[in-house]
């Protein structure tokens, strides 16, 4: 446990010093929140809606850091450590791949949690955003979305040949999901045809579920997104640990 905490402390410090995640996982979601807040204030999501536009957006805003960590930060840091032969150095120590992957995974989970708390700290007092449903349901949906997205990143990082390849894969996953799965642009404002296409992104499923649980809406058919996300998490994590490359 001491190993894990020492590595976590150091890797966390290094990540903050690097600033990328601070910008993309902490500042960017906050900036989007503030812009939406200025535009929509406390207005309802639509005429006669029992919840505000801001409350409707809260789940999606929480997904920005998940997206940044899972599809950019995590795969890139693991691939970079491989390319710089840092993993090779770890390989001739008593460290295991699970320890290293676990530490990096935790760093990005902490970013996601910090981002959510930061968003809540602003959205709740300033725009009166309140969860309309039970909080544990929302937190469950959030955790599942986070774990499934981070596990994709873990797999890309563990299997990519080098950081350039990891970068390309990360960009291909990150930008479409960030723009089209409802993180920044609400799914509701997209044309119907487009909504059908973006429903295929796994992250869209997670965001929809987070939104429904946060607003306390009927979570009809919640079983499908939950099943998809659990499956993705299991498969990607399994592949990452099984086929982890040190070099």
């Amino acid at each position: 446990m001491k190993r894990f905490l020492t590595l976590l402390k150091n890797e966390g410090k290094l990540s903050i010093r690097d600033m990328n995640m601070v910008i993309f996982a902490l500042i960017m979601p906050l900036a989007v929140l503030v812009v939406l807040g200025i535009l929509y204030g406390r207005r309802p999501a639509f005429e006669g809606a029992p919840y505000s536009f801001m409350a409707q957006s809260f789940g999606a805003l929480c997904a920005i850091s998940i997206c940044a960590g899972g599809l950019m930060g995590l795969p890139l840091v693991v691939a970079d450590y491989r390319e710089r032969r840092i993993l090779k150095r770890f390989r001739v120590t008593p460290a295991s791949p699970a320890l290293l992957l676990g530490v990096e995974l935790t760093v990005y989970m902490l970013y996601c949690a910090a981002s959510m708390l930061l968003l809540a700290a602003v959205a709740v007092p300033v725009w009166g955003v309140r969860p309309g449903g039970p909080l544990p349901a929302f937190l469950g949906a959030w955790a599942l979305t986070m774990l499934s997205t981070l596990s994709i990143g873990l797999m890309v990082g563990a299997l990519a040949k080098n950081s350039r390849q990891a970068g390309v894969i990360a960009s291909v996953l990150y930008f479409p999901m960030l723009i089209f799965s409802g993180t920044t642009l609400p799914v509701e404002v997209m044309p119907a045809a487009m909504q059908r296409i973006v429903a295929l992104f796994p992250l869209t499923q997670g965001i929809t579920l987070m939104k429904q649980t946060f607003l306390g809406l009927e979570t009809q058919g919640a079983l499908t997104p939950v099943a998809v996300m659990v499956l993705v998490t299991a498969v990607c994590t399994g592949l990452a640990v099984r086929f982890f490359r040190w070099e």
């Binding site: 150091n10 290094l14 450590y81 001739v92």
Partner: protein, 242 residues
């Protein structure tokens, strides 16, 4: 007492070309062993086979009496390694790199004391990338010693160090050897090999062409200067330094 390293018949080919060909090595405990040869003679590759980070086609390796392919984690508690091109996280500081390394071992050394012994006491809070080449080299030797190893691998020991720093490192390593540490090193400096190594093995294109002491190498070649003997042994028939 068992030997620190035993390599028997280690062979690996790439595209039909032998990188290491039937290598036999025995390194006694508490000695310094020099693995020598020109660039690409197979030194680093041999070390990787010994550590089990690469798989040989055939042959067996015993480190401290154990198979490095099994029980890797238990065995690595007792072994320190400095790779030729050690790398580190972009923004990491000296103290963080030492702490991160130390936490992996159950029984690690006081790394602050080690840094001081290697003349890096003032550099604890510096970024590793801001160190000079020689300081970084010394830092990587410190990292290899943090596990309080019984056996240490030092690939290209003093590359990048100035004359005085090299002498200091030799003295430190000799005193560690006298306390029972076994050292396997590679080096391109024959004065260093002569000063430190109890035994050497010279590789040429993956073949061990000489194993014995420095004095035996000189006698074998009829040279008074060890570097002459080394060049004679490590060069190809054509006279190219392979």
């Amino acid at each position: 007492m068992e030997n620190a390293i035993e390599v028997r018949g280690m062979t690996k080919r790439y595209d039909g070309q032998a990188v290491v060909n039937g290598l036999h090595l025995t390194v006694r405990r508490g000695t310094v062993f020099g693995l020598l040869g020109a660039n690409s003679a197979g030194k680093s590759t041999s070390i990787e086979f010994m550590l089990g980070t690469r798989k040989a086609e055939s042959g067996t390796v015993r480190l401290l009496g154990q198979d490095p392919g099994r029980n890797r984690r238990a065995l690595m508690e007792r072994i320190g390694v400095q790779f030729q091109e050690g790398d580190y996280q972009q923004e990491i500081r000296v103290e963080e790199l030492c702490e991160e390394t130390a936490c992996l071992y159950r029984n690690h050394a006081d790394w602050r004391a080690l840094l001081r012994r290697f003349g890096l006491g003032e550099k604890e809070r510096s970024a590793v990338r801001s160190l000079s080449g020689g300081q970084r080299q010394r830092l990587f030797i410190v990292l290899a010693l943090i596990p309080q190893p019984e056996l240490v691998f030092l690939d290209e020991l003093t590359t990048g160090l100035d004359a005085r720093a090299r002498r200091e490192i030799w003295q430190l390593l000799a005193s560690l050897r006298d306390q029972g540490l076994t050292i396997l090193l590679t080096s391109h400096f024959m004065d260093e090999v002569e000063a430190l190594c109890d035994e050497i093995c010279i590789l040429r294109r993956g073949n061990a062409v000489f194993t014995g002491t420095v004095e035996e190498a000189k006698a074998h070649c009829g040279c008074t200067d060890f570097e002459d003997a080394y060049l004679m042994l490590s060069e190809d028939e054509k006279g190219e330094n392979a």
